[in-house]
């Protein structure tokens, strides 16, 4: 895995309006966006970034590529990702929301076999504040520092990054694993990355209802993570069985006849508490808990 400013980045679907805007944002942040791919647009340029018809053509023209950021239509995302893997790219960020889950299953079988990291789908990607933007995080909420931030949700990640920044707590890295039901990278994967990252002193894990990622993360933290972790779970009061927006953030057993309490906020918070991980009740409490865990002076003791 490579999250240094040397990361050479491709943007697939660069001719999509959204991708074109974010290509510029990434470039301005200093990310090495070396090429774009959009079939039919080969030979054109987007913000001075050369565009190719195929990933393999981009590779042979610009040389090695570490990461691709995929902005295509959700039904074209599987193909784009497989094309990138076939061309030898081993870091993929899927911005696109609404990729059919069975496409993700196909992609993940391939990704696991080729040891490819897939971030997303339905994710703003990864940011290393001050160094690298692999996605669409709004950079103004982030500042360099030592808090690693892992989340499932886009705007909520920005909210918490902003709270941290306002509290004087910069971030070593911010990643959103995505809001869909079937995700590429998992909480444990990122916990491990940040546990090994020398710039990270503490990890903030932002969960939400649905699935059992938080329960798995709590278990993994207790077993394998040395650095302190602070957790938060959104959706304690979300109506059951209704989709709030994320395909993944829904409490409802998929099998009509199999009731189950996995997926509720209570189950997740209990799992964190059992693993002795402090859980914030609301976003603005996170900086306080982070400072407490790092034995920094908190607002209250400051006043």
């Amino acid at each position: 895995m490579n999250f240094t400013p040397q990361n050479r980045v491709l943007i697939q679907g660069i001719a999509e309006p959204l991708a074109t805007v974010h290509a510029l944002h990434m470039k301005r942040y200093g990310t090495h966006v070396v090429a774009g791919v959009s079939p039919g647009y080969g030979g054109t340029k987007v913000h001075e970034i050369p565009v190719f018809d195929l990933v393999e053509m981009a590779l042979s023209a610009v040389g090695e590529i570490d990461t691709t950021i995929i902005f295509t239509h959700p039904y074209a995302a599987l193909d784009a990702a497989l094309e990138a893997i076939a061309a030898g790219i081993r870091q993929i960020v899927l911005i696109t929301e609404g990729i059919p889950p069975l496409d993700m299953v196909k992609l993940l079988r391939k990704a696991e076999m080729t040891e490819t990291l897939v971030v997303g789908p339905n994710s703003p990607g990864v940011i290393v504040p001050g160094q690298l933007l692999l996605g669409i995080h709004p950079v103004e909420f982030y500042t360099p520092g030592s808090v690693g931030l892992i989340s499932r949700s886009g705007t909520l990640t920005y909210e918490i990054a902003r709270e941290l920044t306002l509290a004087g707590l910069g971030q070593s890295m911010g990643v959103c694993i995505g809001g869909d039901a079937i995700m590429g990278s998992s909480f444990p994967q990122w916990l491990e990355i940040m546990d090994e990252d020398e710039h990270t002193e503490i990890i903030v894990l932002v969960g939400e209802i649905g699935g059992d990622s938080e329960e798995a993360a709590a278990h993994y933290i207790a077993e394998a993570i040395d650095k302190p972790v602070v957790a938060y779970v959104a959706g304690q009061t979300a109506p059951k069985g209704r989709r709030v927006g994320h395909a993944g953030a829904i409490i409802a057993s998929q099998i009509s006849t199999l009731g189950s309490e996995i997926g509720t906020a209570v189950s997740k918070i209990t799992a964190f508490e059992r693993a002795n991980i402090p859980v914030a009740n609301y976003p603005s409490q996170i900086p306080t808990l982070v400072k407490k865990a790092l034995r920094l002076p908190t607002k209250h003791s400051n006043v």
């Binding site: 902005f71 886009g154 705007t155 609301y282």
Partner: protein, 397 residues
């Protein structure tokens, strides 16, 4: 999106999963033209389960009884839903009833095959004995046989049950299903199997790439309880605060905060995140405008709490939409005509209060734009929530 039993069975039949002869009954008199010989089972075609327990399934022996039973079922609400159609099906004498299903397991990120020898209505038994087979690599028939063996089947039942599971898997992947379930799978004394009831749920995100499914449900268009991702979702019927956010996580965090501060949300609207491939600033603005128009017309809404973290759309443009919406809905004499009389009596004609929390670029301009409409802009979420809750309490009097 769920399919009704008879729609699921049409897919079963086309795939070669054995189903009984059956006919769709749209009105009781259709039973006069019944081709299936009696005795026949009449089943209410509703989305909710539990119909068997509440009288939605009836056995009948002749046309007179059938018509009477059909009338009863058409008039029977099951979890608030009346059937538009019944299914008349041949009766089947099952010696055993199995449970079979395929769904996606989020933790292992793979489809999983489920099966139990104890199917039918006694779900608790099915769960206790439920067997799971994860389809780790590309599916092949041996996964289905593995399930049959874990279920404890022997001899020819291994092949007959696993062949049904194979076909269920084909339907599962060909149609992007979230769930396919056969419960019960009837097993006769001679080892013949029959799908007696079926449930299919199609993945919402994949629906658009299966046009043949549109044809399948066309006759009952609009009858499925599906909500568009961009619609207002009701919460508490006696709530006062409508929440407008962008992004699911932020929406949930905001509603949690409202409850924590003692407020009660009446509904929420997630105007969508910026990860949609078809996202555009224009679309986001359009969703916001539409949502505000709807919310401000609902006179039960006391406070609209807007919490947006804008990335691509500058805050002043968002503020402009909010300001125009407020302006449009300041009650005018002629606008009263559009309000229903009872609402008019029960409620004052005032618009809901607006609490706006916006962060992103051009916040100062946004602030001045809103100030001209007597709306204050906050950048602190906790404060915005506190304000919304106290406004709702004030308005309650």
């Amino acid at each position: 999106m769920d399919l009704l039993e008879y729609q699921a069975k049409e897919l079963f039949r086309a795939m070669g999963i054995p189903v009984l002869p059956s006919q769709r009954i749209e009105r009781p008199k259709d039973l006069k033209g019944l081709i299936i010989p009696y005795p026949v089972v009449l089943k209410s075609q509703v989305y909710s389960g539990e119909r068997g327990r509440v009288g939605g399934v009836r056995f009948v022996e002749n046309t007179i009884d059938a018509i009477a039973a059909a009338q009863t079922i058409f008039n029977l609400s099951i979890m608030g839903e009346y059937p538009k159609v019944l299914l008349a099906e041949a009766k089947y004498d099952a010696d055993q009833e199995f449970y079979l299903a395929i769904t996606l397991n989020r933790s292992v990120r793979r489809p999983v095959l489920l099966g139990s020898q104890k199917g039918g209505i006694d779900v608790e038994m099915a769960i206790d004995q439920m067997q799971h087979v994860v389809v780790e690599q590309e599916f092949s028939a041996y996964y289905a046989r593995r399930l049959a063996l874990k279920m404890g089947l022997e001899g020819k039942l291994i092949e007959s049950v696993s062949s049904v599971v194979e076909k269920m898997y084909q339907l599962f992947v060909q149609n992007d299903l979230d769930l396919i379930e056969i419960n019960p799978l009837g097993v006769s004394t001679t080892g013949e199997v029959m799908a007696l009831d079926g449930k299919i749920s199609v993945n919402d995100d994949a629906w658009a790439r299966h046009p043949h499914l549109d044809a399948l449900i066309a006759k009952l268009e609009g009858s499925s309880p599906q909500s568009s991702p961009m619609s207002i979702v009701p919460m508490e019927s006696d709530g006062q605060i409508a929440i407008v956010c962008n992004g699911a996580g932020l929406t949930m965090a905001t509603m949690d905060l409202v409850y924590q501060a003692g407020g009660k949300p009446i509904s929420f609207l997630n105007i969508g995140s910026e990860t949609r491939a078809d996202f555009s600033p224009a679309q986001l603005k359009h969703h916001l405008k539409d949502g505000l128009d709807q919310l401000t017309q609902n006179k039960q809404v006391k406070v609209v709490l807007i919490n947006l973290i804008s990335n691509l759309v500058p805050c002043d443009e968002v503020a402009e939409i909010i300001a125009s919406s407020v302006k449009r809905h300041v009650p005018k004499t002629n606008s009263l005509k559009r309000i229903r009389p009872d609402t008019l009596i029960a409620q004052a004609t005032r618009s809901p209060a607006m609490v706006v929390r916006l962060v992103g670029s051009e916040c100062e301009r946004a602030q001045s734009r809103l100030a001209s409409n007597q709306i204050s802009l906050l950048d602190n979420l906790d404060e915005a929530v506190t304000q919304a809750v106290s406004l709702a309490k004030v308005g309650r009097g």
